[in-house]
């Protein structure tokens, strides 16, 4: 019987033939942790009796969640991570390098790999045909020591996206639409494979947005089969040699196949406070906005900043809005500088912050106050996610976010681009 991508990749990592439902122990190719939980993972490893990480070349530590540090305790945690990385000869990405997932995708993730990290959005790596999934800090302690972990081989839901989206309807709109259809627990414990011509047409950056939000439907991970675009992306980041083809077998068995048309789609937002609370922008365009955030591992890449700059070029952010723009990595930042995207955004009145998570996790650099409304290109709009439990977060594409920054209310980008 044929295999899904999840079954293929876990079979390789476990060194035997496995299928959905099996519980396996698999070797880890890449283990990443960050300043949100890395110190807990290190302490767990030490409490378990571990002294050295199993393979320093496979372990990466990123300081991105509160970077640069905003609190003295966080600074202590950063130092704990720096010291550990130094002692263990593990690569450390210090403040300003970028968001952990973006850095792993640029520098380390290869098709076919099995990666774990202490972060739920590790599922993003499926955009390159790798199996990435989030684990907790204690489990990471065991991984650091043993280089192995148990997995239940997930069943897979195939989501076929056909057609081509109208202009200014972006991958983020598509994935929010999908989340609205599937629901916040519609894919729990399962993997998602995205297929269809809309996915084949999509850039790797857009595919990362798709896979990034797999966990928002409860999924263990999300995948896009590799193709020429994957190869070109790897070549661009200087790692073409790690390309290999990752596709499901034609006779693979799926838990479910969901077919969705994106032809007639329009810009959407996920309204407070669940990701599947999705509505057309037009339905909520009277909502006034206090803060706009363009960034995060979901939408902080060059093409996201490009579309925002295109909308804001030569115009001014609305006086009642704070617009915060954060490139996902130093590479993205430098490319955006070169293309004068940063200049356009800054001239329009955006606040440009150093590469990192920024306000996405509600710790610093744009924490929302009581009653405030934020339009954010990130992936979660939960109660209390970005600050006060009384604040409201609307998830949107970078085009919708930029259009909303311009008008001061939630705005369909098609309304402003040619104004």
């Amino acid at each position: 019987m044929g295999k899904t991508i999840a079954e293929k990749l876990l079979s390789r990592a476990a060194g035997k033939d496995v299928s959905a439902g099996d519980i396996v122990v698999a070797s880890i190719d890449l283990a990443m942790t960050h300043d949100g939980s890395g110190h807990l993972a290190i302490r767990a490893m030490k409490s378990m009796g571990g002294e050295r990480v199993w393979d320093p070349s496979k372990v990466k530590i990123v300081i991105d969640h509160v970077a640069p540090s905003a609190f003295d305790r966080t600074s202590d945690i950063h130092n704990e991570l720096r010291e550990f990385a130094h002692q263990q000869e593990v690569q450390l990405y210090d403040v300003g390098s970028g968001i952990c997932h973006q850095l792993m995708i640029e520098d380390h993730v290869c098709p076919g790999m099995l990666a774990v990290a202490t972060d739920s959005h590790t599922c993003s790596y499926g955009a390159l045909g790798a199996f990435g999934t989030g684990i907790g800090a204690t489990e990471m302690g065991a991984v650091l020591m043993l280089g192995k972990l148990w997995f239940m081989v997930p069943e897979t839901i195939k989501i076929v996206l056909s057609g081509s989206p109208p202009p200014l309807t972006l991958p983020k709109d598509i994935v929010l639409f999908v989340a609205g259809e599937v629901g916040v627990d519609g894919a729990t414990y399962r993997a998602i494979e995205y297929e269809g011509d809309a996915v084949r047409e999509m850039s790797v950056s857009g595919r990362i947005t798709l896979c990034n939000m797999a966990v928002e439907m409860g999924a263990k991970t999300g995948f896009v089969s590799t193709d020429e675009k994957t190869r070109e992306y790897l070549a661009k980041v200087g790692r073409e040699s790690c390309f290999q083809e990752v596709t499901p077998d034609p006779d693979a068995e799926y838990h479910d196949v969901i077919e969705l048309e994106v032809d007639g789609l329009e810009p959407v937002v996920a309204c407070p406070s669940q990701v599947d609370n999705v509505r057309a922008v037009a339905e909520v365009d009277d909502v006034e906005v206090n803060q706009v955030f363009i960034g995060s591992c979901t939408n902080g890449r060059l093409e996201d900043l490009l579309i925002a700059a295109q909308i804001l070029d030569g115009k001014r952010v609305h006086p009642s809005v704070r617009a915060i723009v954060i490139p996902a990595s130093r590479r993205v930042f430098l490319e955006a500088l070169k293309l004068r995207v940063i200049e356009k955004l800054a001239k329009a009145g955006c606040v440009i912050a150093p590469p990192g998570c920024g306000p996405c996790a509600g710790a610093h650099m744009g924490v929302l106050g009581k009653g405030e409304v934020c339009v954010s290109t990130s992936n979660r709009n939960f109660v209390g996610r970005m600050g006060s439990p009384d604040a409201k977060v609307y998830l949107a594409s970078p085009a919708t976010a930029a259009a909303s920054a311009l008008t001061g209310r939630i705005t369909d980008p098609r309304e402003v681009l040619n104004r």
């Binding site: 378990m48 204690t138 489990e139």
Partner: protein, 174 residues
């Protein structure tokens, strides 16, 4: 009662309780003092909860409990607040793994949440895999979880488990 039987007063929650409701980032990043975190446990879902919860109480919830982030402080802070077990119709994947790894008993049961109200007294028998609502005099079987996970839970979490056994039982799955 054996150490794997818990009896306690119920706190009732609905579907999709998120990790940001359990312990939001604005507290989590400022400190790593779990006592501080525990002062805000589940505050996003019920602002009065941290003040009213008593050691031994049980959380009963609907579907997809613990959805969202991989933050382990979520189950940890519930355990620290003295909650003896969480019974839900289903759990988010990472929360479920984390709960077992930190030794917070998590029990999957479709039926019990529907017939249970806040303030009821429930009993969980981990070893037998049974849950009972003593107030309503009903009893249900919990969904079975693999033996090796039960062993980690009964050892009190993954750290204690590895210390006690010199490794994780799952290493032998092969």
């Amino acid at each position: 009662m054996s150490s794997h039987v818990f009896r306690g007063r119920v706190w009732k929650f609905g579907d999709n309780v998120t990790t940001d409701e359990i312990i939001p980032g604005r507290y989590r990043f400022k400190t790593d003092d779990i006592g501080e975190w525990a002062k805000h446990v589940l505050e996003g879902a019920d602002p009065e909860f941290p003040k009213k919860v008593r050691p031994g109480d049980v959380v009963v919830a609907g579907k997809n409990f613990g959805s969202g982030s991989s933050r382990e402080p979520a189950p940890l802070v519930i355990k620290h607040a003295g909650i003896s077990a969480v019974i839900a119709k289903s759990f988010a994947r990472i929360f479920f793994r984390n709960a077992i790894n930190v030794g917070l008993p998590v029990v999957i049961c479709e039926q019990l949440p529907d017939v249970t109200e806040a303030g009821d007294v429930v009993e969980v028998d981990l070893e037998k895999g049974m849950v009972r609502n003593l107030t309503k005099s009903v009893e249900f079987a919990a969904t079975k979880i693999p033996n090796f996970l039960m062993q980690i839970l009964m050892d009190g979490g993954l750290v204690e488990h590895i210390r006690k056994r010199g490794g994780a039982v799952w290493q032998d799955i092969g």
